[in-house]
């Protein structure tokens, strides 16, 4: 028996009258309250917020162009003008750290956004309509999942001359939408059998209304949680690909590009100021995003226990 059923009806009005007559929280507000109690997640929000602010407002903190080369200042150590020294072509490391963070965050966020759109649309269609539509979309996800990600990305990058940020984001989104699509479809399949969906059908609600008013609000927990965690993994993918030289091409600063300079053993040994900050940048950003994702999962999907 559901424990909530045990509450006698006579007791309820008293409770309402007692405390907080005007206080009535929506499930979303309750989720935010639960999230706020998670210290790790809140700290991560603050840290991530600071990182975003610093990267977005990069011109305030440095007035050196991150792409400007200066052959007279190659691999210099930290100085007053160049706080983190300069790299192999004389670009300022500090400036590249800030502007590179921008690129990494933009890549992570926009790839997540695109994946989200593809995933929600296809997942909704598959999960809501089922049958042939579902079959078609699920076979498409199978095919995309079957392709080896790294080989595919390397091939595409090798074929294309000039990889821009937009193109890079598109490639990531087009190769990684199936996971989210499957999660959304799975959530819908379980929602579809619930009586409140039948109830919406019984009043004659349109498919559009049922999807937007009944399915998405009830699936928002898994969607948000997975989108957040995906963003972290995209940042890592960007750095990983940049590190092996198949990411966003060199003059553009990214954290991955900066670390890739440490492939040189001399820089690795003698210039830790050149590669530790971008490494820390990736670590702290990804860690914060993951903590936020975990916090969101605990807050909005209380049934799933902490893993």
């Amino acid at each position: 028996m559901n424990p909530n059923l045990q509450e006698s009806e006579a007791k309820m009005p008293d409770m309402n009258r007692g405390k907080g007559q005007n206080k009535s929280y929506s499930p979303f507000q309750l989720g935010i309250q639960r999230f706020m109690k998670n210290k790790m997640a809140v700290a991560s929000v603050i840290v991530l917020f600071l990182i975003v602010i610093v990267c977005v407002m990069a011109p305030v903190f440095t007035n050196i162009d991150p792409e400007e080369t200066n052959l007279l200042l190659i691999e210099k150590g930290p100085s007053d003008e160049h706080i983190l020294g300069t790299n192999g072509v004389g670009q300022d490391n500090f400036s590249r750290l800030l502007y590179g963070g921008r690129v990494s965050l933009i890549v992570g966020f926009s790839a997540m956004f695109f994946t989200l759109i593809i995933g929600v649309v296809l997942g909704s269609l598959a999960g809501y309509y089922g049958g042939k539509v579902d079959n078609l979309i699920m076979r498409a996800t199978d095919i995309v999942l079957m392709l080896p990600f790294l080989v595919l990305v390397l091939t595409i990058m090798a074929l294309i001359d000039k990889v821009t940020i937009g193109l890079f984001v598109t490639i990531i989104a087009l190769t990684s939408w199936p996971n989210l699509t499957r999660i959304i479809r799975g959530t819908y399949l379980s929602l579809r059998e619930q009586e409140f969906v039948l109830s919406a059908r019984a009043i004659g609600a349109t498919d559009f209304r049922i999807i937007f008013k009944h399915f998405i609000p009830n699936a928002i927990g898994p969607i948000v949680v997975n989108a957040t965690l995906m963003m972290a993994s995209y940042i890592i993918i960007e750095s990983g690909l940049s590190f092996i030289g198949f990411g966003i091409p060199k003059p553009t600063p990214t954290w991955g590009n900066m670390i890739s300079e440490a492939q040189n053993i001399r820089i690795l040994r003698n210039h830790p100021h050149a590669w530790i900050p971008p490494g820390l940048g990736i670590l702290v950003t990804v860690l914060s995003i993951n903590f936020i994702g975990d916090g969101l999962r605990d807050a909005f999907d209380p049934k799933s226990n902490r893993r």
Binding site: L5, S8, E9, S199, A202, G204, K213, N218
Partner: protein, 330 residues
Amino acid sequence: MDAANDALVKVKNVKKYFPIKGGILKRTIGHLKAVDDVSFSIMKGETLGIVGESGSGKSTLGRVMLRLLDPTEGSIYFNGTDISHLNRRKIRPHRRDMQIVFQDPFASLNSKMSVAELIEEPLIVQSSLTKAERKEQAIEIIEKVGLRAEDRLKYPHEFSGGQRQRISIARALVTRPKFVICDEPVSALDVSIQAQVLNLMKDLQDELGLTYLFIAHDLSVVKHISNRVAVMYLGRIVEIATKKSLYNNAYHPYTQALLTSIPVIDHGQNDIPRKTKIKLTGDLPSPSDPPSGCTFRTRCPMAHERCSLERPELIEKDAGHFVACHLYTE
């Protein structure tokens, strides 16, 4: 039963078979006969109770009648219109006249919507009322079902089971339907609250002139609210009669068994003669592989040879009292 003039709902030879798929190619290898050739009608303003064990097809029947499921065969007439083959768009205007209250008040309300959103949603879908008019109608119905107008800003998780069921009822009634299917609306509630909700539904019926199809799994709840009662077994109606006739003079062995299973405190005032006490043994046979002939014969103490050969049809034993049993066919 066929005084069809003031029948609001008429169900004619309705069947609902669910295909059973199997094998690698997912071919249909059989059918689950959830509802098998059911006919009856419901008069304006009456309550027809439908009783049966779990798996007897009573909920499926309710869902087919509202076209939440499509019937495999047969027709459903609502207010004289055959709605059994209307497409989704054509059936939409009819939906404001027929509604459903579900069993589980925790599953049938979208927990992400406030009470106001839940109750106004049918109006948004079904009418072109302004926001203020919708609010006014919602408040009116909220107060009718015994909640307070300020409750409309709350969310379902703030209510108990009985109060949630009141919200469900308000949602079902806000478009002022003529016909409401109550799919075990009190089964999930505490006994003390069951009576409150049943009385509320009865009062609303009188006030708004509603017609109910009341689905339940035991005869005691149905007795309280119904005018007529139909007993279902494995997708078929085995007995249908007025409440008085059914409770005093049940013909079908299954109905008799259900009646004797109602716990009674005072035997002296009990209508059922003690000698007819029948104990049911065994489980409901699988609806995908029902017994031949009379589907009840495997559990029937009075079964004889003919029961396995021939399927009994509903016959009118007394005026308005129909029974499908070979004991009463000569």
